[in-house]
Structure formats: structure tokens, C-alpha cells
């Protein structure tokens, strides 16, 4: 099992921004679009066959031209004199239909990312993912942060629209970041690296939806733009958000009036709204039924398209 770095790089105080697939693919879409927009060059990868089965084969006139695996790649760009490395993991090992991976393979993959990071001289790592919250889909998603130190936490809280977990949740500053987006942070911290996770809010009832949530990806990208000191173009996101919003609005309009009324109170409250746990569970449970009645072209997961602006 290993990783490959295509070139030797002598970087100055680089940061690593990484993400894997997950709920709403919020982190994945954000980081992959980020590396694309800054024209980052591919500098390495993790050999995929120890972690994943191939998902596509191209055979031409009998000859096997290629086998395609989910990508786990490193990219680099020098941004306003800040060396920035990006890691994009299209899938988490051990995912098997779940939203997040786990187990021995996830541990090994995180270890390889950290080995590569240390080889590049990285001392600070950001990951990104989803924060499932009692929020409204029509409200701009906030970015929720956890960090390895109070100092770094205060640093990220200075970014507009970024809040600590404790400020946004009934549970205070407690919770779990599942899968590799969390595992990597824990392992990195053990190795003495500074780490933070920036998570875009997604309404609880959409956490199992089979499509991405670009609204939250945009919020995350805006936060990373601040961290990296760059400007980004969000035109691509506006189109994607519009498309997904149409699907979500159709689902929203199927809510019974009473549920809709109580859900809409979330629009005005920053703290969790008065919707009960049972009502939130009701929405999640009925999501499959709502999605069944959608025309086929809507709501399909088109993550591959999301990663590259057209």
C-alpha cells in the first residue's frame, strides 16, 4: 500500500486542504472545485487498488486500455505566496453504501495522507465535510468549525460566516465527525500537526438525499478563500444551486402544512428551531417517498459534473 508523489517539492510553510465524499458531498465538491479554480497541478496520488474495487473498464478491440478507480489525488498551487496542497478523495474506503468509511482501510488511508503531508513539510491541515443541523434550506448555510487548539479555533472563527460547534448546536461543543474527514484530524493531531475541520450546514432531513448540496459547498469554499487569501468565482455554484434548489423546493412543498409551518420557524432562529425530533425524523423517513415521485432527470447525483465548472 502506498502513495506516489510525482515530483520533489520544496515548499514554504504549506497547508493541506483535504476532503472525501460524504453527506451532500459538501466537502468534496468544495475542495475539488477549489483546486480546479486555482489551477492546481496534480502532484501525487494514493494507489487505489488496495482500497477500492475498479469501477470502470475501457476495452477497445479486445485490448484492456484502462481500469478506472475512485481517485485519491494530491494537487499543489502557490497562492499569494502561500504554498497550498489539496487532497481530494472521491470515495472513502470501507464505505460500502454508507455515507462514510471506516475500519482498517480508512485508518491506512489516513496514515498515507499524513505520510505524504509530512514529506511535503505540512504542519497545518484542514478537512471539510457536512454538519447535519436543524436549519432551513432557504437560509445561507453557516460553516461550523472544530479545531485542535483554541488558538486555531479563534483564528477560523474570524472568518465571516464561520462559527464554532458550540455556538450553533444544542449539544454545545460536543459531537462526532464521522469517517475520514474526522479520522484524519485525530491522527494528525496525534502527530503534533495543527488541524481544523470546516463543515457546511445541511438540513437534517436532507442528510440522506442522493444528491449534493452545493449551497453548503459554496459556504465552505468562501471560508477557504479567506484562509488562503484568494478570490474565487462562484458562477458555477449559482447554476448548480439553482438546479438542486428546484428539486428541494418540490420536496419541501410536499410537507404537510403544520410541519411546514414549524419548519419555517427555523428561518428566523439561529439556534435550533421548535421542530421536534419526531418531526425531523418524519421528514427524513419520508424523503425516499418524495424522491420516488420526482421525474428521473431531477435529483440524480451528478457529483462528477459538480467537481468541474462547465
Amino acid at each position: 500500500m502506498g502513495f506516489v508523489l510525482h515530483k520533489e517539492l520544496d515548499l514554504e510553510d504549506p497547508v493541506l486542504v483535504c476532503s472525501w465524499s460524504g453527506i451532500g458531498n459538501i466537502g468534496l465538491v468544495a475542495v475539488d472545485n477549489l483546486q480546479y479554480q486555482v489551477s492546481a497541478q496534480e502532484i501525487g496520488l494514493i494507489n487505489p487498488w488496495h482500497f477500492f474495487d475498479p469501477r470502470n473498464a475501457v476495452v477497445k478491440n479486445g485490448f484492456i486500455e484502462s481500469l478506472e478507480f475512485p481517485k485519491s489525488k494530491f494537487y499543489y498551487q502557490n497562492l499569494t505566496n502561500k504554498d497550498s496542497v489539496f487532497f481530494v478523495g472521491e470515495e472513502q474506503p470501507g464505505q460500502m453504501g454508507k455515507m462514510h468509511g471506516g475500519g482498517e482501510k480508512a485508518y491506512h488511508m489516513a496514515g498515507l495522507v499524513l505520510e505524504a503531508a509530512e514529506k511535503l513539510g505540512i504542519k497545518k491541515i484542514y478537512t471539510s465535510g457536512a454538519c447535519v443541523a436543524a436549519v432551513h434550506h432557504q437560509v445561507k448555510p453557516r460553516v461550523v468549525a472544530v479545531a485542535s487548539s483554541e488558538k486555531l479555533l479563534q483564528e477560523v472563527k474570524m472568518i465571516p460566516n464561520v462559527y464554532s460547534m458550540g455556538e450553533t448546536s444544542e449539544e454545545g461543543g460536543e459531537g462526532v465527525i464521522t469517517g475520514l474527514n474526522g479520522l484524519l484530524l485525530a491522527m494528525a493531531q496525534k502527530r503534533g500537526l495543527e488541524t481544523a475541520c470546516l463543515m457546511g450546514e445541511i438540513p437534517d432531513w436532507l442528510s440522506r438525499a442522493p444528491f449534493p448540496y452545493p449551497r453548503a459547498s459554496q459556504s465552505v469554499m468562501e471560508a477557504f478563500a479567506h484562509v488562503l487569501g484568494i478570490d474565487l468565482d462562484f458562477t458555477f455554484f449559482e447554476k448548480k444551486t439553482e438546479d438542486i434548489d428546484k428539486v428541494i423546493e418540490k420536496l419541501y412543498h410536499k410537507f404537510p402544512e403544520k410541519v411546514k409551518e414549524q419548519y419555517d420557524e427555523r428561518k428566523t432562529e439561529l439556534q435550533p428551531g421548535p421542530i421536534t425530533h419526531e418531526e425531523a425524523e418524519w421528514m427524513k423517513a419520508h424523503l425516499d417517498d418524495f424522491l420516488k415521485n420526482l421525474p428521473k432527470s431531477e435529483g440524480e447525483d451528478d457529483n462528477d459534473d459538480d467537481q468541474k465548472p462547465t
Binding site: 488496495h50 469501477r55 476495452v59 477497445k60 479486445g62 485490448f63 484492456i64
Partner: protein
């Protein structure tokens, strides 16, 4: 999933040098092609079991599968066929750790036996009838093999863009180890997918006999073909609906889905009822 460190159990030292490896998959075995070829060869060569891959870590063990009232255990076994210098692998397709499985088996074949060439076999359900010959579609992992096994009336070089079969994955890894590999996808009338198609098996053997100089006696297979064709003719004679569907296929007309299901079910039930 538990991954065991050394999944290979070797029962005896290799007695062959530079054999050709033949791999027959036993999972979703269309027309029983993979299993049929392995069984036929094992009997014809009086093959000896020499090693197996421990299934733990590669298959789910959440209960027991049974087929025809017999309990099935996933297995992956190697046999030596000294007479024809063949190494045989009859295996269920692993569900987990596929790369690890392929890597382990190929390393064993290459390092212990100096295997430098392998063939795998798969049945391909097709809209053809049992009346005609069975074409073979080739997939290979080195360009030069396209010239060594050129297209002709019976053989076609296939193109594909989609999820890979286990055989394709095996060939891809084999190529990285310097082992040339060819998969033979043989046509199987779709209504024979769930039972043995001896004509498809014979088509593969004819190809291997020609290219590997195997000289495998095919008389038992010929008897099976004859018997199956006779039974299918009986079915057509007594069931006009079946005869009508077969005629459509012979004329290369498409059958509706319900017609395909009807034909598959009727043929399966009839042949099962007439099993020896």
C-alpha cells in the same frame, strides 16, 4: 472485514514448470461454462489438488448458501494437470479484498510455477439459439495478443466501456506482473444461462485445443450436446409457443422481456425434469 496475512494453503510443491494457467469462475456462471470447463479438465487430466486460498476475508460468512439442496462453501482451489502442463484455478469470485485475492493467486502462479500466460472463461448470455455455433469474444491484456489470436468467423475482439468483470480485473493485474492474459467470453443462448451449455464449453475447448495443442477428448461433451439438443427438440415439438420463440430468435428477431422470461423458465424446468 478480516484480512488474513497469508491466505494461501499449499499442499504440495509444484511439479509443473511454465504451465499455462486456466481460471474458471464459479460465481454467476452463465451456462456453467467456468465450472464445466474446470470439471471436465480435472476429470480428463486426473488433476491433483495442490493448493487453495482460504476463503476467510474474501467472502461473507453470514450463513450458508445451498444449491440443489446441497450446502455450498466458497472455494478457490488449484489443480495440476501434468499431462497437458496446465495449472487450473476453479474459484468463486471474491466479494471483498479483490485486489489482495488476485495479487496472492498471481504471485503464487508466477513465483512458484513461472506462469507467463493465463486464460479465463466466461459465458455471455446472448440472443442466439442452441442450433448454431457459439462465437467467442476475446479480451486481452497485451496488444500483441490481438495478432496472435486474430479475429475470424468464430472469434471477435470485443469493445466495452463499463464496470469491469472479475476476469478483466485479473487480466489488468496480470499485465502489471508480466503475465499475458486472455479472457474468452463464449455465447450462451440466454435460456441456457442457468444450466449447463455443453456446446459453449465445447467451443472453448476447440479454441484451446487449436492454440494450446491440448488434445482433450471431447466425445463425452459431444454426447451431452446431442442429448440436450434432442431434449430441446422434443420441447419444441410438444410446445408450439416455445417453437415459435426459437424460430424468432433463429430469424434474429428480438423477443420481448416477457417472452424471454417465458422461454428461460420453460426450458429450465423441462431440462431439470429430464435430468439424468
Amino acid at each position: 472485514m478480516t484480512t488474513i496475512k497469508n491466505p494461501l494453503k499449499v499442499y504440495q510443491k509444484p511439479a509443473l514448470f511454465h504451465p499455462v494457467l486456466l481460471v474458471g469462475w464459479q460465481t454467476q456462471d452463465v451456462g456453467n461454462v467456468g465450472t464445466g470447463i474446470m470439471n471436465y479438465l480435472q476429470e480428463a487430466c486426473q488433476a491433483k489438488e495442490v493448493a487453495e486460498v482460504d476463503p476467510l476475508g474474501f467472502f461473507a460468512f453470514e450463513g450458508a448458501i445451498f444449491k440443489n439442496n446441497l450446502i455450498q462453501i466458497p472455494e478457490s482451489k488449484f489443480y495440476e494437470c501434468a499431462e497437458n502442463n496446465l495449472l487450473l484455478l476453479g474459484s468463486d469470485e471474491p466479494m471483498y479484498e479483490k485486489y489482495n485475492f488476485i495479487n496472492t493467486t498471481l504471485n503464487y502462479c508466477r513465483d512458484e510455477y513461472m506462469v507467463s500466460r493465463l486464460f479465463t472463461f466466461n459465458g455471455h448470455p446472448s440472443p442466439v439459439t442452441h442450433h448454431g455455433s457459439r462465437s467467442i469474444f476475446l479480451v486481452f491484456n497485451q496488444l500483441k495478443l490481438g495478432e496472435e489470436f486474430p479475429e475470424n468467423e468464430q472469434v471477435e475482439h470485443v469493445s466495452w466501456d463499463g464496470p469491469p468483470a472479475m476476469s478483466t480485473y485479473l487480466l489488468w493485474v496480470a499485465q502489471k506482473k508480466g503475465i499475458s492474459g486472455i479472457t474468452l467470453w463464449v455465447e450462451v443462448p440466454f435460456y441456457l444461462s442457468s444450466i449447463e451449455d455443453p456446446a459453449a464449453i465445447k467451443s472453448i475447448f476447440s479454441f484451446l485445443n487449436a492454440h494450446l495443442d491440448l488434445r482433450i477428448d471431447l466425445s463425452r461433451l459431444n454426447q451431452k450436446i446431442e442429448r440436450q439438443n434432442r431434449l430441446l427438440q422434443e420441447l419444441c415439438d410438444t410446445n408450439p409457443e416455445v417453437a415459435e420463440k426459437m424460430q424468432k430468435l433463429d430469424q434474429e428477431e428480438e423477443l420481448e422481456e416477457n417472452e424471454q422470461v417465458f422461454l428461460s423458465k420453460t426450458v429450465y424446468e423441462y431440462l431439470q425434469s429430464r435430468k439424468q
